[in-house]
Symmetry: D2
Subunit: 361 residues, 4 copies
């Protein structure tokens, strides 16, 4: 079997650059219909990019993403840079006919996100927003159980994403710079749980919230709390914090339905708690019939956080090859945009002290 | 040593009647400054009350609580009846100079609760509202750790009280009758977590909420979600539900502070999770130096839910004997009233779609 | 309904004296066919016994148990004293026609235990050995599930009882005195898990073990390990320690069968982990249809360790009233004796370095 | 920086072949002093090997491992084939001057293992036996904490490795064929926990055991139980089973010392429970200062089971480059041999019914 290749250009060489690159390398040896070829990686610091290029075996290191956009060998543009450099390069790439992946949150504002979505649609390319937690096997299983009616009618959703590094963090980090990051815990952590709420339960209609900056001198929010109402009338809560001592990366949700419940926490990424009526069973999501397990090991041999990117980018390659759409299991730019609208409604509500409708243009 | 006795009259002979009676019997043999004497128990069904009287050894069974209020042998009137019979008998007893205990929620409305508090104050008697979860050793320990500064500045609180019996419940239950119960999950479960939020963190200033009745034909709410803002500016969430499959009696909270965090769940009543910076330790709250353990066993031998009433009523007996005030560790009628105001603000916010200030008269 | 009374005489006023007395008091108000009457309590220290008598309302305090044995009002003799005073008073009471309860381990030696059993049988009285963990609702449920075939054929059992107080314990404690205690962790903790192994799986045929005293100057063992073979050929392990930092009272077992598994830990006394094939469900053993729950609360309101004695002594009262035998759910003196034989085989094996058959005379 | 390469030849293309290949591919991009070059892979089924070669990018597919042993480009021979083909190819490779990695159990017998060790030593090559659980970050951390004295004197060790696939397994699997597998749960699972016991606590002096085959028609053992005594006199237990319903891959141990305890389970591979005196903390072993975390992500982003092979083979590459010895953190063939002797002593003890000394030649 000869497998076609798709040239990939990556923007960003730090945390997300590393996560995506490892996944692309892994996908060269897995059962996907297109084999990724690592054409070039870009970043502002020439020396650092060159070092990363060499380490990971990218074909070229460039300091101007425009070169990547202009490169005919590139079929997929993967934007893993800081939030402030999402909009322009991604739109340029889409206009140049490249399929596009962009990390979350999609734009710095709902307006930016909307433009990114519209441009990608107009260009007719595949687009995926990097909500990688959809690609945790236990999360995909949660979605499948809900869709199969195992929970009956969903009536309640709660979610919180708690970390604690915010207390001692280096104040010069780009994540605390409003211009580069847009927001704090809301955009960074909140966007993940907004997306999971939408993926698992449905569209969000209204929110009521409070947003706080606690650490003196910080430009962005440290944590927020919100109640949400979904389009079907059901209710839930969302919370995120960088100031929750004892929690390292606890992205946790619970879904309650008329026939059952589900509970999950990223800190135990391979487990899904499943209740039918009176009790929860702890399912280790590593069986051959569980999502994505075709890539991996016999039961009980867990996958890691980094492997979610393999699942995600593998999904994108399948979509590019025409095997399926990016939606509903992958987040599209529309999902990225809708998430931005919810985040902005959360900010509006915190200001207004009112339940704010989420409006989509 | 001769220990003085205090005559007790109990209203209500069902769930709470049994819980209180067992505690009173236990307290006859524990180290408290007043020994409770079971003078009389009352209820509307003469036959049922007589059966309970005989079982538990109450001195008399009566069908009119006014007899109890008029009884000179009674020093403490303990109201464990349905919510709708809280206000009148309790006020009458206080006016007659009896110390009063009343189950939660205190009144059917904030107005009733306020009158109960005012009348008890005016009468100069001791008053305690039955928020028994304050008397879980792990909860008292949580309060002590917060007061001792072990958590630093508290910045975030979250709490949810989840049960699941609402799906299949008998529709004729008084708990579903608006006239008798006032509200549903909000008054029954929500009042507990409102009280714990106030006990652990402080006064609540404003709430934003959504309240829902899901099961067709039901008069009262099945669940609610709320964000809260405390007087010191910090934020949190409250949720309660009778429709959370897999949860039986999960009254759980988490407190995050600048130096540490705490987590608790009533389903594991003897455990407190305590984090300093990066991890939680599971503390089994059964050491000799832990709250209330003077009543009990060597370490590791857990107490039960029923024992919290022994702690609570022992605390009341000590207060009657003048050893300490009911507050701050016991909930007074003022606490019961303030809880009612928060509950009403939650209802107002659900209606108005706005953040509602909690106003105290 | 008039309920008959049975006069109880208690030997021992310390840890077990308190636990049994509380249970007897509770049983005066519960649905049992005989109401216990607290006739007398005995102990060597007159002052201390009198104090306990007054606290708990025993009719009399005596310093010579022979008075109790001679007392015609006494129908049940309950021996909760130190191990060295089990054999003589218990046999005397049985010979005097009293029903007998004796704390575990039954005798200091298998020989003593055998005599106690034989004498009680000869006297034709009811006899119960205080293995109270059989009366944990989750443990009874475990037995019921196994009997009902829910686990299929049992093939493997493992159990360990871990505490940590041994490191810093007062060296003058009677538990470290070989003459009074007989053995250390083996008799104190090991006897409990030997009994549970027999209760849940069946008779033990052979053991291989190692027993160690670690803390300098100590006369009795600090911990032991053993493999066991049951009469039906299946295998398992037993371990107990007073030197396991971080464990307070962790009496835990796991049973594996051809169709399912069970796991339990006393530190979470109200929970039973139940596996069918691939995963464990956490069952909160507080449903109305769960063992002993007729005495207690609605689902999710947990019982305490002390309540197991209420179940145990209630069971004994029912047996005295002829409602059922003590066996199989209560441990008889035969069970106490058989446990002693297993314990002695463990000591023999530790000495001989051989698998030792458990021999019953 | 130019990094030298080392040519690798792999024997075996199934479970272990895949696990090792993925790790070798990952190591081409990580900070190790030698970059692995995938020279050739071998197996008996030409078609299958060719398919794997193509998938993973091995340079050549061969059906005779002798070609690999004779290949001058090969510096490291990695044997991940079935147990029966460990001894001959591995010794041949070592004699040819190749460094050798061999999966566990090392030989089918202690004699085979001993020859493998002696031959590798004689050849002067680096040798590593594939006990990959030493390379779980939490396990390495456990060893470091013990070495640093955080637990004080270790006094007790317990370990069990439980799976459940044995009940329904395909009877034609090589793992059930005595000629190919040597033993069942003992060699497959038991060897892992014997190695961890030795790694964490020290040399094993004697064992007492029972070994059982339960499923009809099976040639090898399904489970075993054993007590062990270490050279320093302390005691422990080992158990392994393929018949433990509800357990998927539960390789769990607990270490108790005079100052603290540790507990671990592979099903929660990223967590280590650490007790000082009275309680366990759940440490998420993902901090920058934790073992192997230099390869990975920010705190709280867990690694997977497959990543332990990256750690293991990275360690071997460092040893080949002379940065450190394979021991003590990697298992050498001496460790593989010593493990075989313990396994054989377990079999002898099961037969003899006696405590058997572990003898090393």
């Amino acid at each position: 079997v000869t497998v076609d290749e798709v040239g990939v250009a990556m923007l960003g060489y730090s945390f997300m650059g590393k996560a995506h690159t490892r996944a692309l390398l892994a996908l060269r040896h897995l059962d996907v219909p297109l084999r990724p070829k690592l054409v070039s990686i870009s970043g502002r610091n020439a020396e650092a990019v060159e070092r990363v290029r060499e380490t990971w075996g990218w074909g070229a290191a460039v300091t101007d993403w425009r070169e990547q956009v202009a490169d005919e060998r590139v079929g997929l543009f993967d934007n893993g840079g800081p939030n402030a450099v999402h909009v322009e390069p991604t739109i340029a790439a889409a206009r140049a006919g490249k399929h596009v992946v962009c990390e979350k949150p999609l734009g710095l504002t709902a307006d930016e996100s909307h433009r990114m979505w519209q441009e990608a649609e107009r260009a007719g390319v595949r687009h995926l927003c990097g909500f990688n937690y959809r690609f945790v096997p236990a999360v995909r299983l949660a979605r499948e159980l809900i869709e199969a009616g195992e929970l009956g009618d969903v009536v309640h959703f709660r979610s919180r994403y708690l970390q604690s590094w915010g207390w001692e963090a280096d104040p010069t980090l780009w994540r605390f710079d409003r211009a580069q990051a847009g927001s704090g815990a809301l955009g960074d952590l909140g966007s993940h749980i907004i997306d999971l709420a939408r993926y698992l339960v449905g569209e969000i209609r209204a929110v009521s919230s409070a947003v706080r900056t606690i650490v003196p001198g910080r430009e962005v929010d440290d944590h927020f709390v919100a109640t949400v109402e979904f389009e079907n009338g059901i209710v839930g809560t969302l919370e995120a914090s960088r100031l929750a001592r004892g929690r390292i990366n606890s992205n946790a949700f619970e879904v309650n339905g008329s026939k059952g419940s589900l509970a999950f926490d990223v800190e135990r990424l391979n487990e899904l708690e499943v209740a039918d009526t009176r009790s929860f069973r702890r399912v280790l999501v590593t069986e051959p019939y569980h999502p994505f397990m075709r890539y991996w090991w016999p039961p009980g041999h867990i996958v890691g956080w980094g492997d979610t990117f393999t699942h995600e980018l593998g999904h994108m390659l399948e979509a590019i090859a025409g095997e399926h759409e990016v939606a509903p299991h992958g987040a599209t730019f529309e999902d990225g945009y809708r998430c931005s609208e919810v985040a902005e409604a959360i900010l509006r509500s915190a200001e207004s002290g009112r339940r704010e409708e989420v409006t989509y243009r």
